[in-house]
Point group: C2
Chain length 177, copies 2
């Protein structure tokens, strides 16, 4: 279902700044949250920083287990992505509530999200700035994409439920990776 | 020319993940680079993390002066943004080379970029992860937008000169800020 993506290309999924889902698992219970505050930190191995508020139920699981999956949804999933962000995993199983399908990951306990076009299995590699800024540094251990989703358009949060969807693609002569 | 934006709204400029310009100034000499690796860290005061490679000429200025401006360009500037990223400020004045207009900032020495629709005056507030990850945490001191650019479409880097331009806007019922 998911196809492995070379780690050297993982940055292309997050560098454009899409809204993503983040899954965690603790004591056999998986959870999923919505996340927009992430950035690439290095190409290979791919390192990603993200800010997960300590107000989020996922915070404790991420800090304790040091594992997560970043799943990248296309615009068709936007209503579910927003609903996932509107409630807490404290109260419910968000996978069953919103009809998201957890798939076993290969190297971490948190699940992939079958409906997302890309999934990144991650471990926490630095927690220095967690206390001060809720800032985690993750290493991507394994990257997956769904070949059936050929031209996924991601969404970008502009605040209070306003999202901008990917539009046209342009090519320019860049020496940047 | 630029209109002040309340700091409480500054996150809406960076959360969507646009390619931005980063200006620095050292010993009276301004420089500008292209940056895609940034994320919001807190709403207010707005905190932003960014990764500026030590291979970039701007790295030394940012580390020494602890000041920068993040300028957000719309798609019309994309060719210049790529050219800025293709060369180093070691060799040339990139403002004059590419016809970008530096404007004096109010609280920091690095200039705003007149052609960009938004400019964020920033100071470095944390350098804990600079040595290990080139990761700076910035505080936005002042935010400006250009009211003449009414519907700016930003660009998002997908690697090697491929950029996706903002498309349609959708509204969903979100409880997220």
């Amino acid at each position: 279902m998911m196809q492995e993506l070379p780690l050297s290309k993982a940055y292309r999924l997050l560098e454009p700044g899409p809204v993503v889902l983040l899954t965690t698992a603790q004591q056999g219970r998986a959870n999923v949250m919505t996340l927009s505050w992430h950035m690439m930190v290095d190409f290979e191995p791919p390192l990603v920083a993200c800010v997960v508020s300590s107000a989020n139920h996922s915070f404790a699981a991420l800090q304790a287990t040091k594992e997560c999956v970043i799943a990248v949804p296309a615009v068709e999933l936007a209503p579910k992505v927003v609903e996932v962000g509107n409630c807490s995993g404290r109260d419910r199983n968000k996978f069953t509530t919103f009809g998201l399908t957890p798939l076993p990951a290969e190297l971490v306990a948190p699940p992939l999200v079958a409906e997302c076009f890309a999934n990144l299995e991650c471990k926490v590699v630095d927690t220095t700035l967690v206390n001060q800024f809720n800032l985690f540094v993750l290493e991507v251990l394994k990257a997956w994409t769904d070949p059936a989703q050929k031209h996924p358009r991601t969404i970008h949060h502009h605040g209070y439920g306003t999202f901008v969807v990917d539009g046209e693609t342009i090519k320019l002569k860049s020496r940047m990776r």
